[in-house]
Amino acid sequence: MLRLSVNGEIRELDMDPATPLLWALRDGLHLTGTKYSCGIAECGACLVLVDGKPVHSCVTPISSVANAKITTIEGLSPERSHPVQQAWIEEEVPQCGYCQSGQILAASALLEKQPKPTDADIDATMRDVLCRCGTYPRIRKAIKRAAELAGAADKEV
């Protein structure tokens, strides 16, 4: 039995320690918001946050994250309240939606690091996450909107 901390809960898994985190989340814990697309860390659909940093779960063995805090899209916020999710809804970013968990987690990690990202910052970070539907222009807009929302929330606090 291997124990993982996922979205604030300790979960037990009876899987080979070499199993990629992606498949442990999806098939072991039924957290299917994290997506499989390339399996070689090229597309970012499988991104999750490990101790707050984006990690390709498709190439991360579960044995390597046993002591880490893992956040998936399901655990990003209650009721889609994260500023990035709010901005994504406002700007109507998703089309097919398959890559969006990865996009949203990558964007949230970017804003943690750079609360006011420039276009160049956005491109440099978000180029790691592929979208075949071409939601890129809206992702740019939504990240800027999320930065505003997060900034406003900080002021209220």
Binding site: E42, G97, R127, R138
Partner: protein, 710 residues
């Protein structure tokens, strides 16, 4: 005012649904032959609208949602004529049933940018019928004339007395009424929802990971499978040794199925490990030794033959002889992969009493039929549950992944989800056909284009789908976008010579127009330059009979500042295409960074007739431009020794955000019938970009993706 005459027998059944709801069924009689000819009576009645006594309006959507926003679009069409309260509207994917056939296809499926075009009138009618019955029910209760009542946001109101009743309060009474023989549809000016940017219904569940794609289906006792296929396309299994695979913990079974050897396990990772441990001897089959270069050589021979002549106006040969200047060019495009972000997958639960399919499919009828044929079950015992699709682009109209799941489930007697790896998805795609084109053109002494000859060779999608096509037959899909160019050229010849090298091909977002718009619009620019004319001016001069093409061209040019001075090192290219009933022009502004093309900005003008949801139109233009730019700038599929040479996103590279241009979309208002919107933005992007590169370098680019000498 538009109206659609209904007869009473058009309605198979109207009855109280469970919970006292009003259920209105409506076959497409008069719009499609299917509902009557295929004996719809033997099936349960179709049903688009269910209104609950709690005012909840549940709408069935027969189109698959693959990103194009159709779930919302169809719901808007139904809700408009129903005068539903949009906040109480829920849209669901319809089960596979003849009642839900796409009137343009005679099957249930999504493709060809048909959904709005096909369902516009039938579903407005379905909504209006329901509304009229609710009004009648209220009028009866109040003992007033229905003509003195009106509806608004899920309420019937009596104008004089101010009394109101909600739809939910009327379901019982309305269920007992006769179906009206005819209904009046709203005047366009009275639309409340249509033409407005309504938020997509599926946005919230796509930002929190809760949308269920095919990949995400979960069932009790569900197993996962991975299938090893012959590395050579079309090859078969000679023999295999499953011992090592079966030794992998979690692996439950190894079964040979039509497409290869399936490893079925408790979860996907075990299935994948088991598959990697398989020992298989393959029979490489007929494609062994097939290379892209050999395919091109075969095409280049065939292009000399006429094939099937699709258009032959005037006399091209003599006009070329008499022309002041002539030009000949070879244009080619490679195979292209669909590369949906969600790899192909399907879940099947085959039992002796029936079969349930959980599918990210664009083709419910074909999936249902395939399962029926494989299991021997009657069609109605095959139930299709459509999930969200992580991209489609035509790929998910096929049934290869569905058959895998049905065969695996049948083999082990348990529900099985078959997951194609990314490598499987690219290696064994049904590619956009490669084509090879010879063009000749002539201009006269006054600079008029007087001759145009376009000979196309390539594989036929329709031939592969074996819809009765023989070699040498016509295939509309290879010549669309070529035979219908909008230019008044007196001598015009277009032919298609079918060559089928054995590489699987399929519909790829915008199909023939995806390559033919590139080829024709770029050759047009070459001729315009030969004639000493500005490309936009040369187009407009020949477009008197095509005002909608001209309309979008002018709008795009104006919005892009076409012809104005640009920053040093930049150039613009323009292109226009009609496809799927819509007209799109784009202006691309590019520069070169060494040998790399950078697209800075794309200005897009679209005329798609009457509009459902403007925000969706913007999104689909942005999407089509991104999709087309991958094929224009980045990736291609090549074949060596019968094998696909690309296998994942490291060698089939998709456009990334830092390569995405600024996109400005402008909608040309129109009262024409609605056109398609999922595909028409793709065709103009390649030629707009290539024409800009041509303007910048003076050298034509006659194959894409663009590879400039460094």
């Amino acid at each position: 005012m538009p109206s659609y005459k209904l007869t009473r027998r058009d309605f198979i059944k109207i009855s109280a649904a469970a919970g006292g709801g009003l259920l209105v069924g409506f076959p497409f009689t008069g719009l499609s032959k299917d509902a009557m000819n295929t004996g719809g009576d033997s099936f349960k009645p179709n049903a688009w609208i269910t209104i609950g006594s709690d005012d909840q309006v549940t709408l069935q959507v027969a189109s698959s949602e693959m990103g194009q926003g159709i779930l919302t679009g169809i719901a808007m069409i139904l809700a408009e004529e129903l005068d539903a309260d949009w906040s109480k509207v829920k849209a669901e994917f319809a089960p596979a049933d003849k009642a839900f056939y796409n009137p343009m296809f005679r099957r249930q499926g999504t493709g060809g940018s048909t959904a709005v075009r096909a369902f516009w009138n039938p579903l407005r009618t379905a909504g209006a019928v329901a509304r009229e019955m609710l009004v009648q029910a209220a009028a009866n209760q109040w003992e007033v004339d229905p003509a003195d009542c009106h509806t608004e946001k899920g309420l019937v109101m009596h104008d004089e007395s101010g009394r109101t009743l909600s739809y939910g309060a009327l379901t019982q009474a309305a269920s007992k009424l006769a179906v009206p023989e005819a209904v009046l549809l709203k005047d366009v000016d009275d639309f409340v929802l249509l033409g407005k940017s309504m938020p997509r219904l599926d946005t919230p569940i796509k930002v929190d990971g809760s949308a269920i794609f095919g990949m995400d289906v979960q069932l009790d006792g569900l197993l996962s499978a991975s299938v090893a296929r012959c590395p050579t396309i079309g090859g078969t299994v000679k023999s295999f040794d499953a011992e090592a695979a079966l030794a992998v913990p979690g692996v439950k079974a190894v079964k040979q199925i039509s497409s290869g050897v399936a490893v079925i396990a408790a979860h996907y990772w075990a299935a994948k490990q088991g598959r990697d441990a398989l020992q298989i001897e393959w029979d490489a089959g007929p494609n062994k030794g097939l290379d892209s270069s050999a395919i091109t050589a075969e095409f280049s021979k065939a292009v000399e033959s006429d094939g099937v002549v699709e258009r032959n106006d005037g006399d091209v040969e003599s006009s070329l002889k008499g022309a002041a200047k002539t030009l000949e060019a070879i244009y080619s495009v490679p195979y292209q992969a669909h590369a949906c972000m969600e790899p192909m997958n399907a879940t099947a639960d085959v039992r002796s009493d029936g079969c349930d399919l959980y599918l990210p499919t664009q083709n419910q009828t074909r999936s249902q039929t395939a399962a029926m044929q494989l299991t021997g079950l009657p069609l109605e015992k095959v139930r299709v549950h459509t999930t969200y699709l992580g991209g489609g682009f035509g790929r998910r109209g096929d049934d290869d992944f569905v058959k895998d799941a049905v065969e695996c489930s049948r083999a082990v007697g348990k529900p099985v989800k078959v997951i194609w790896s990314r490598e499987d998805d690219i290696l064994y795609d049904k590619f956009r056909p490669a084509t090879y084109n010879r063009l000749r053109g002539g201009v006269d002494a006054e600079g008029r284009i007087v001759a145009w000859e376009h000979r196309i060779t390539g594989a036929s999608i329709m031939k592969q789908k074996q819809r009765g096509l023989v070699p040498g037959a016509r295939d509309w899909s290879n010549t669309e976008g070529a035979k219908n160019i909008p230019y008044a050229i007196p001598n015009l010849f277009v032919s298609f010579a079918m060559v089928n090298p054995g590489i699987p091909v399929g519909f790829w977002r915008s199909v023939g127009s995806s390559q033919n718009a590139y080829i024709t619009e770029c050759f047009f620019d070459e001729l315009a330059v030969l004639a000493g004319k500005d490309p936009l001016q040369a187009r407009l001069e020949l477009m008197d009979d095509h005002p909608r093409h001209a309309g979008v061209l002018k709008l795009a040019a104006e919005q892009a500042g076409y012809g104005k001075k640009l920053p040093e090192g930049r150039a613009q290219g323009i292109a226009v295409a009609e496809s799927f009933g819509s007209f799109v022009a784009q202006v691309a502004e590019v520069s070169l960074e060494r040998s790399r093309v950078r697209v800075h900005r794309v200005t897009c003008a679209v005329d798609c007739g009457m509009i459902v949801n403007p925000n969706t139109i913007h999104a689909q233009m942005e999407s089509a431009i991104a999709y087309g730019l991958t094929a224009t700038l980045k990736s291609e599929i090549t074949i060596r020794n019968g094998r696909t040479q690309q296998r994942n996103f490291d060698d089939f590279k998709l456009l990334r955000i830092d390569e995405m241009p600024q996109v400005d979309v402008h909608i040309l208002p129109s009262s024409e019938s609605p056109g398609g919107i999922g595909e028409p933005g793709v065709p103009p992007i390649a030629p707009a970009v290539v024409n800009a590169v041509f303007a910048l370098t003076g050298k034509p680019v006659r194959s894409i993706p663009i590879r400039l000498a460094g």
